[in-house]
Amino acid sequence: MFSNILIYFVIIPLLMLGGVGLSRNIRQIRAVAVIGSVALMALSTVLLLQYLDLRHAGETAPMLFTDSWTWFAPLNINLAVGVDGISIAMLILSSIIVFAGSFASWKVPQPKGFFLWLLLLSTGVFGFFISVDLFTMFMFYEVALIPMYLLIGVWGSGRKNYAAMKLTLMLMGGSAFLMLGLIGIYYHSAPEGGQLTWNILEIAARDSIPHGWQSFLFPMTFVGFGVLGAMFPFHTWSPDGHACAPTAVSMLHAGVLMKLGGYGCFRVAIYLMPYAAQELSYIFLILTGISVVYGAFCACVKTDLKYINAYSSVSHCGLVLFAILMLNSTAMTGAIMQMLSHGLMTALFFALIGMIYGRTHTREITQMGGMMQILPFLSVCYVIAGMASLGLPGLSGFVAEMTIFVGSFKAGMADYLSGEGSLRLVFTIIACCSIVITAVYILRVVGKLLFGPVYDKHHLELTDATWWERTSTITLILCVAAIGCFPNFFNNLINTTFTPEIFAVLGK
């Protein structure tokens, strides 16, 4: 069991949990968190290198490092693991954000409990990304969701009880759909009389889910994951939840947890039920297309920094789901890039907002101004984050969005010319419009918050970022820039997953 590298992605967070549990003061907790997250980053790097080596050596299996340990034989539940380029990208993202998050919560009150829950959440996240067994996946998914309630409810601010409850209940509602869908998949995972399985790879290989059932199970799973991916109209947990969550939780949640939604939509809904994906994608295309512009428009008039960012997340994550539904490899690659990009970018945003809030004790942009003079480091970082968000070339947002647009335009034109309607094309163009609206709200915030005269004289006494805050933000900025400057590396990493076989099934 311990010969497989993937299992360490769960073991390390568990060890960290133990370490935090045994720690006696905040120094030890910090040490555990930093060492552990560095170990996770190292592990994901090693995994990436090994994976690339194997691919280079000509491995063509859809997933590498696969392994399976029986857990509950009567229902054929296994702890089955395996990764492809997408999972690796997500694992890298998660480890980076856990790292940055640990630094961002350097001075959190009641650190022990906080880190315990945070690490439990990370365990769930990592477990989710490495598993290829639907049941295990779902279990890790829930493990990642539950700590959120406590983290927001106990360490949050504002209407935290309301927000925590809302977030948890809406996500739980989503997982209720999801569970239905997963169980449905399980019961159709084999032709009549065959051995049922939860294993994604086997199900995909068998392709035995009847079309009628697919049309039922696809919406279930898509909505189930879509709730976590902040799909319109199931996104309202996101603004409240993010606004009330403590910094590191917002980072982890927007940075990683929301990616679970997109990842799940691809890995389960589309991958396993290609027929229904083809037939029903238009419903969700409309919904996600709406999310993209809708989130952006809403962000234009909000005055709370976290609300703005949460709505911007709705817009960006909507783009992820939107691109996935385009069902072509370019757009899907773009979707994964957007997940990476948005994960890093929004984590950076939330980290910065948390740092600013920690100093000014307000998140209202109307009550702040001229931060550039007071907190130059944080402000510059904020501008960079904003530029990444509005898609400045050289930062990650641009490549992700462009890949998505090129891919979905391709899909849209193909549809249009073959007489299948212009829905995809129209929504692609609508989604393109979001780049303008994004610019509007980002610049509005930057202008009001950072530039202009100092609004509050008390703010003049604030001090700029401390070293741990700098570590956190610089890590994220470097990653954002790395994706933005060398996109082809990630593109190739992700692209290998979208083999022609997948799209052969889709008929594209």
Binding site: M165, P233, F451
Partner: protein, 669 residues
């Protein structure tokens, strides 16, 4: 040609940006400025060398046997691969226009770097706050602009297009403590972003049909019988042409897809080049420091739209309707901007509108250029005007900067009669004015004359219209000149320094640029830059009748300005009273800003965003919350059943048990 030099041309400004941006605060102002200027100077040398090599070395990679200039791809690296065919590459393309643009950009940029050393400090020689940042941004801008012009594919152009926009944003908002600067920078970014949306969709459409982003493949000369510019695979060009020529290509709202693509791409150009109705950001962008206005908003970035159209010129040639749109937009903008420029008070605003007008000239020139008229004279004229305009407009802006620096105000009302106290500025400014007015032998005369003559070839109406605008140009420039340097004697307000010429760092660029403006007209541009690389002697196309008419028009404009503004008199006020409506509309720039203000605030914010946000909070979230409330209510409703009163439990139990019992009995019978 070695790859080192082109790489360095891009790498040095980028490096300077990071170096000054990260470590600038640690070094002294002077050191940072010097480093930035030296960096730019080395880029200048390298670019001149490259351009010289390209134009005059006669190497067979640059010129073929027939003497046609070729496109030469110095390097081309894959940056992001979408599909097998659609690949974004980062590269360096040398051809006549990119070589010319290298010269223009580095020249102006270097002048501005040098000039800023003097400008960005107060009268006591104390450097402004954020001086290092300023140089870092200038380097970033130079990098992006150079990357834009050497782009071998349309997507690289888009990438640098965006970078240019961002660095322009940073530079306009340089005085970030000033709310007006912040909002101007925001406006500039958003308006151009909106235009870029069209650009992006245009690129997507074009690339979807052609399967390529590369200019060489997109623009290989599609017209038969003319020699190809490049060494490209003719098959590709043919197939692209066929794609659009065949009836299989769909139409959308009555226009072919190619037309749409080209018009959308032109929309991107309209945004950057401040064509009506996307021009509103440029006058506001004058909130930035004056050297920035000279660099970005006069000489380089704003001509990116012209450059874009010129780049895709062979494609535009295939669509006459797109060309007509370009011509019409250009002509309207030129006239509009000239009208507005006649009444502005802020000297930078006058120059800004003059820039809009002049760029519109270039656009019109491109729009009327056809291979059949003087072998595409309009194209060459446009590029020529781009070149000369960059020089004299930068000169005018830098001169205005010197005035503003000396006086401390942007309004000519605070200036008047400065010709004696600031002689160098006066002379160079006059040269700039003469150049822009089109007086022989200054550079503007030649380029503008060719634009007019190509207009005349195309349509007499366009010609007359543009001649009128040229006359207006001469008028408003000399109005400005007289109001600044003549009108009445200068009175220095109490407590102010008497105005005087600025230090050498500021006057040297003025002198250099003035010198260039004097002689640039004699550059044999037809030999260097033509639409298909085929050189010709443009003097052969020189039409003395057109030239003399345009000269006459310019002189009329100047004469009128002389009459009205040379000495303080009542004439301007009378004119103003005679045409109050016209004056008001011009003064308020035909209320474009108010219109936009209305659209953005009332419609976008008020009618879309706010209701959507309300909808989100109250309807969507309300629905979600109402699920929770409903659950709560239901729970409240059945809560009394669990009253804790055992008697009620007994009662419920009893009733239940009796019901069950009763049913049992009834069933048993």
């Amino acid at each position: 040609m070695a790859i080192t030099i082109p790489i360095l041309i891009l790498a040095i400004p980028l490096f300077m940006f990071f170096f000054l941006g990260l470590f600038g605060m640690k070094m002294s102002h002077k050191l940072a400025g010097t480093l930035g200027t030296l960096g730019m100077g080395s880029v200048l040398v390298l670019s001149y060398f490259t351009a010289f090599q390209y134009f005059f070395s006669g190497l067979d990679i640059f010129v073929n046997e027939a003497g046609d200039r070729l496109q030469y791809l110095v390097f081309d690296q894959t940056w992001l691969q979408f599909t097998e065919k659609l690949v974004i590459k980062l590269g360096f393309l040398l051809d006549p226009i990119s070589a010319m643009m290298l010269v223009v950009i580095t020249t102006i940029s270097f002048m501005v770097h040098l000039y800023s050393m003097g400008y960005m400090r107060d009268h006591h020689g104390v450097f402004e706050h954020g001086f290092q940042r300023f140089y870092a941004f200038l380097s970033l801008f130079s990098f992006s602009m150079l990357g834009l012009v050497v782009a071998p594919n349309i997507f690289q152009m888009y990438i640098f297009w965006e970078l240019v926009g961002a660095s322009s944003y940073l530079l306009i908002g340089f005085y970030y403590k000033k709310p007006s600067a912040v909002s101007a920078s925001k406006k500039a970014f958003i308006v151009t972003r909106f235009a870029d949306l069209g650009f992006l969709i245009g690129i997507l459409t074009l690339s979807w049909y052609t399967g390529t982003f590369n200019f060489t493949e997109l623009t290989s000369v599609p017209v038969e019988g003319l020699a190809g510019v490049t060494q490209v695979n003719i098959g590709t060009a043919e197939s692209i042409r066929n794609i659009f020529a065949t009836s299989a290509a769909p139409t959308f709202m009555g226009a072919s897809v190619l037309t749409w693509a080209l018009v959308l791409i032109f929309m991107g150009g309209m945004g950057k080049s401040a064509m009506m109705p996307l021009h509103i950001w440029l006058p506001d962008a004058m909130e930035g420091p004056t050297p920035v206005s000279a660099l970005i908003h006069a000489a380089t970035m704003v001509v990116a739209g012209v450059y874009l159209v010129a780049r895709l010129f062979p494609l535009y040639l295939m669509e006459d309707s797109a060309m007509i749109i370009i011509t019409v937009v250009g002509a309207l903008t030129a006239f509009y901007a000239a009208m507005v420029a006649c009444v502005q008070v802020d000297i930078k605003r006058v120059l800004a509108f003059s820039t809009i007008s002049q760029i519109a000239f270039m656009m019109v020139s491109l729009g009327v250029a056809r291979p059949e008229y003087h072998e595409g004279l309009g194209y060459m004229a446009s590029m020529f005007h781009l070149f000369t305009h960059a020089m004299f407009k930068a000169l005018l802006f830098l001169g205005a900067g010197a005035l503003i620096h000396a006086i401390g105000s942007n309004d000519y009302t605070a200036m008047h009669g400065l010709r004696k106290s600031m002689p160098i500025t006066h002379i160079t400014f006059l040269i700039g004015c003469l150049a822009i007015a089109g007086i022989i032998p200054f550079s503007g005369f030649f380029s503008k004359d060719e634009i007019l003559s190509s207009c005349g070839q195309y349509d007499i109406l366009v010609y007359l219209w543009m001649s009128l605008v040229a006359g207006l140009t001469a008028f408003y420039m000399f109005r400005l000149y007289y109001l600044i340097f003549w009108w009445k004697e200068h009175v220095t307000p109490e407590g102010h320094h008497a105005p005087h010429d600025q230090p050498w760092t500021m006057t040297l660029p003025l002198v250099i640029l003035a010198a260039i403006s004097c002689v640039a007209g004699f550059i044999p541009f037809g030999n260097l830059v033509t639409w298909n690389g085929e050189p010709y002697d443009f003097m052969a196309h020189f039409d003395w009748s057109v030239a003399s008419i345009s000269l006459l028009v310019a002189i009329c404009g100047i004469a009128l300005a002389t009459v009205m503004y040379r000495k303080e008199n009542e004439l301007p006020a009378k004119m103003r009273r005679a045409l109050p409506a016209l004056w008001t509309w011009c003064y308020h720039r035909f209320y474009w800003d108010e219109l936009y203000q209305f659209i953005t605030h009332k419609i976008i914010f008020g009618l879309i965003s706010k209701p959507l946000a309300w909808f989100d909070r109250h309807i969507i979230d309300g629905t979600m919350d109402s699920f929770a409330t409903l659950t709560n209510k239901a729970s409240e409703a059945i809560k009394p059943l669990q009253s804790g009163q055992i008697q009620m439990y007994v009662f419920y139990y009893l009733i239940g048990a009796l019901l069950l019992g009763g049913i049992t009995i009834l069933c048993l019978i």
